[in-house]
Structures are given as C-alpha cells and as structure tokens.
C-alpha cells in the first residue's frame, strides 16, 4: 500500500492526542495498586507487587456503602423517570386532549433550568417536609429534573408508533395503562434504553444536589463520598486513587461493553 507522509502525520496527531486523553485514566488505575514510593518513582510502570490491600482498605473505609447508595438512588430514580416520562410522552404524542401543546412546551422548557438556580428553594421545600438527609429527598428532584429530556426523546419516538398495534390492543379491551406499560413500552426498547443510559450515567455522577441534600456519611452517594476522601487522604495518594478507580470502574466497564448504546444515548439529543 501507499504510505504517504500526510497519512502518517494524521495517525500521529490522532494517536498523540488520544494518548494524552487516556494517560490520566491509565495512571489512575496503574497507581491504585502501587505503594506510595513506587507511585512517585515509576509513575507509568506496572506495579511490581500489586497492593490489592489498597482496594480492600478503600472498600472498607466507605466505598462499599457509597456504591450501594448510588446503586439504590440511581436505579430507583431511573425506573421512576422512565415510567413517569413514558406515560406522559405517550399521552402527549398520541392523545389529542385540550392543553396538550401547552403542557408539552411547559415540560420541555424545564430542560433549560439548571439545578443550581433552584438549590435554595429546593432545600427549603425538602427541609419543610423533612426530606433533607434522606434518599427520597434526593430521588424526588432527580426524577423531576430527569423528566423534560426523557419526554423529549420518548415523544419523538412515540409519534411514529404504529397505530394498528394500538387499535388492536384497544379492541382486545386493554385499559390505557395496560396499553402503555404492557404493549407500547416493551415495543419501544431502543428509545427506553437511550433514556435509561443517559439518566443512569448522569445520576450516578450527580454531585450538586447530593451535596445539599445528604448529610450523614452513611447516606452518601459515590461522588459525595469521594469528597470525604479528598480531605482524609490528601496525602495518601494510593488509597485516594484506589477509591477513584473503584468509583469509576462500574461506569467505564459498562461504557466499554455497551459502547454503541452509550454513544447513541449520550449524543442523541443533538442528532
């Protein structure tokens, strides 16, 4: 084959940039099983004697609770987001009731409201109903803020849902709930998967709301838990990096396995 200078240059440019992007992550994982001395003397060498005890110590210092909390909060929130948004998006896309356009625009406009602009009133409201420092107090706003984007995505999908299937289900005597939950949703998996991945990644990483809602160490989600180590292990880098690795590994692994779905979901909006 012809090997032109420009081709070599292109590979070099893309390769070097990609390496620069990958380096911090590689360093994080490599360092997480090193000793402090090795971390500084050979930052990019493989650990000569992997210190798995770093992971065990991080796990026992709270990471296990934080992961469990994140798993709970994220999964409950995502399930609720999908259910509530699918019902609403179906109604807006397929049922011609008065006020439909207004409701749609209202819900969609919420997409633009950053959570940071409502931290004060949210704190006040949640405090008023004793939901500060509870997982419910975190899940409720997560669901509310997840609704606009999910409806936007599902609405577009439901618009093209075949009417024949709906009609057949209606003739069989399906109620509207059965129709949406048992027939429309299972047949809309690609759209639902997109919503699930997008919201799951976002909520797994969410920090601002968790910062104002959660107080107890036992209730912290992963990002909030990491900030505790930030102070505690500011000089114990290997433990810090082991915690970061454990916190990041679940999402990175899922991303590598489900890459196609991840990319479609996370860039979907602009397409």
């Amino acid at each position: 084959m012809r090997l032109r200078l420009s081709t070599v240059l292109v590979y070099l440019l893309v390769g070097v940039y990609t390496l620069l992007v990958a380096l911090p992550i590689v360093w994080m994982f490599l360092s997480s099983t090193k000793t402090m001395r090795e971390l500084f003397t050979a930052p990019f060498a493989l650990p000569s004697d992997p210190q798995w005890s770093n992971f065990i110590r991080a796990w026992e210092s709270g990471i296990s609770h934080y992961l469990a909390n994140s798993l709970l909060v994220t999964s409950v929130s995502v399930i609720l987001i999908v259910l509530v948004s699918a019902l609403a998006a179906y109604s807006l896309a397929r049922i011609n009731f008065p006020g439909r356009v207004f409701i749609y625009l209202l819900l969609i406009a919420g997409f633009a409201i950053p959570v940071h602009t409502v931290l004060v009133p949210l704190y006040r409201t949640l405090n008023g109903v004793n939901l500060i420092n509870t997982h419910v107090g975190l899940i409720l706003p997560y669901v509310a803020f997840g609704i606009p984007f999910s409806i936007l995505l599902l609405y577009a999908f439901f618009l093209e849902f075949p009417a024949e299937i709906e009609d057949a289900a209606r003739i069989d005597g399906c109620t509207i709930w059965q129709l949406v939950i048992q027939i429309v949703m299972p047949l809309s998996m690609p759209a639902l998967v997109s919503v699930i991945i997008f919201q799951a990644v976002f909520l797994w990483n969410e920090f601002s709301l968790a910062l104002i809602v959660i107080r107890d160490d036992a209730l912290r989600t992963i990002p909030l838990g990491l900030t505790k180590f930030q102070g505690q292990w500011s000089t114990n880098w290997t433990l810090m990096l082991a915690s970061l690795s454990m916190a990041t590994l679940p999402v990175l692994l899922l991303f590598v396995i489900l890459q196609r779905h991840f990319i479609r979901s996370l860039v979907g909006f602009s397409k």
């Binding site: 893309v14 019902l87 209202l106 969609i108 406009a109 409201i113």
Partner: protein
C-alpha cells in the same frame, strides 16, 4: 365510518353526547397519564424556579430563617460586588475558551478520524469518549493530584518539555487557575464534542467527496467546501451545548478549588452555593441564580428551537 356504527341510534342528540362522552374519557386518560409528570415537575422544578425569583427580592437566610423584603437591593449589591463580576467573567472565559478549544479541536480530530484514519477508529473513539462518562468529582480529584505543586504529573510533564512549572502551583496561582481548570474541562469534554461531530460527518454523502476527487480537490478544500457546510447544524448544536455547559459549571470548580484562591476561580454556580450554604445569604444567592437562569433560559431556548430544525430541513 361513524355513521355505520350509529345506525341504531336515531336521535342526533344522543349520538353527539355518546361521541363526546367517549372523547371526554379519552381526554381524561390523557390527563391522568400526564399527571404524575406534571405534578413532580411543577412541584420540584417550576415552583422552585419562581420561588428563586421571589426570594431574590429578600434578605433571606436558610439557617436563621430571617426574611426581610429588600426589593431590588440584592441586584444593586450585585453590580457593586467585585466577586460576582469576577465569577461572571470566569464563566464567560470558560465559555469562550471551551467553544474555541473543544469545538475547534473536536472538529479537527473528527475530520482527521473521519477522512484520514482506517485502523483504530473504534479505539480512538472509545478512549476519547471515556472521560465523558466519569463523574466531574472523580475527574476533579484525579486532576488535583496531577496538578500537585510538588510531585504532580503536570510538573513532570512541563519540565520534560523544557519549561518551568508555575511557582505558586497550577491551582494556587490566581492568574492561571481558571486556565488550569479549563484544561481539565477540555480534557473531559473534547471527546464528547468530537463524537457528536463525527456522527454528523458520517452522514455526509460519500458521492460529494467522490465528485470532488474527480475535480482534483485537495482534502483541505473538501473540508471547507463539503464537510463544513454539510454539518453546519451539528456545529451550531455543539457550540450551544458547550456554552450551556460553561454557564452551568459547578462540580469541577467546586472540587478543584472551591472558587479559590481568593475567589480567583469563582463561577456563578460556586458563588451561589457559597452565598446560600456557607455564609447564609440565600436571598443574595437567589439574585445570582436569577442572572444564571436568564443565561440558561436564553441558550436553552435557542437549543430547543435548533433541535427541531434539522428534522424539518431534512
């Protein structure tokens, strides 16, 4: 169609009520299905939004529950608050640099990968996208170690290419701290922009390129005359997404510097948090929130309008 169903009902009036009763039931279904979303959304998004605007007119504290009407006093104070101007300016710096670097670099990389690379395309995509799925908190802590003023990787790297690292540290020097934060933001999100643009490029018709090749066009000419015009909407969308991200930034700054040193890296998001939850000035924080809200709503509105257009054009 309706007539054949209605033949047994001779009276037009009963017929009309039957139809409208059925329609009403359908409407009711519609409202019931949309109700959970509306209730949650109004209680936890819309109401707080108006509440923020309302609270911005008060001297209000979350912990001592003091509340005193001050009219536009908070906004007057804002105009004289150097830290607020600093944070606004930092948001705008982040916005401008992010758009130039992330979209510029993302565009170049996407073009190189799309047109110049055959092997390792998938790998390049995976590696560049990986930081996007990490939490800003993990990324921030990781980079705090990299930026360590004595033993961090950044210092090693800079020395290796023959430069001297900043004496006050990457995050300790008020003159460069915002750019140090920007390096991290660009590190995390250029891959995101690149992937979106790449997806846009892959839907550009190959025939256009082939025709241009027959005319002997160079790759550079093809980029400017075929690629760029074809992905115009994608580029505008990415620029808006990047701008919105820059206006909303909070996590990364909070983790890396808490807005310091001496407020040098304060942005609106962190300054809101600082006022509301650190110094108990929730009314003042609400006034800053209103400013941030205006920026976000304008940009968000543009983004929503744009997201419909490609479908109509195509």
């Amino acid at each position: 169609m309706t007539d054949s169903l209605q033949t047994h009902k001779p009276l037009a009036t009963t017929r009309r009520t039957r139809v409208s009763a059925r329609q009403k039931r359908e409407w009711l279904d519609g409202y019931v299905l949309v109700a959970p979303a509306i209730i949650l959304f109004v209680l936890l998004v819309v109401y707080p939004m108006f509440s923020t605007i309302y609270l911005s007119l008060f001297d209000y504290g979350l912990t001592d529950a003091r509340i005193r009407f001050v009219g536009l006093g908070n906004f007057v104070d804002l105009t004289q608050d150097a830290v607020f101007w600093r944070s606004l300016r930092n948001n705008l710096t982040i916005l401008v640099v992010s758009v130039i670097v992330q979209v510029g670099l993302g565009l170049i990389l996407a073009a190189l990968i799309d047109r110049g690379i055959r092997w390792g395309k998938g790998l390049a995509r995976t590696l560049n996208f990986a930081p996007v799925v990490m939490s800003a908190v993990a990324v921030g802590i990781l980079w705090q170690l990299i930026y360590d003023p004595t033993v961090g990787l950044a210092n090693h790297f800079v020395r290796a290419i023959g430069l001297t690292p900043p004496t006050q540290g990457w995050l300790g020097d008020p003159n460069i701290v915002i750019y140090s934060i920007l390096v991290v933001a660009c590190w995390q999100y250029t891959g995101y922009v690149m992937i979106i643009i790449l997806a846009g490029m892959q839907s550009v018709s190959q025939e256009l390129y082939e025709a241009a090749e027959i005319d002997g066009a160079t790759e550079l000419r093809k980029f400017f005359h075929i690629t760029l015009p074809s992905i115009r909407n994608v580029n505008i969308a990415v620029i808006l997404i990047t701008m919105i991200g820059a206006i909303k930034v909070f996590d990364l700054v909070y983790i890396l510097t808490r807005g310091g040193p001496a407020n040098a890296s304060q942005v609106m998001g962190t300054y809101i948090y600082y006022n509301a939850f650190t110094v108990n000035q929730a009314g003042y924080a609400s006034a800053i929130s209103v400013v941030l809200l205006v920026f976000a709503l304008v940009l968000g509105f543009l983004q929503l309008r744009l997201s419909y257009r490609p479908r109509e054009d195509a």
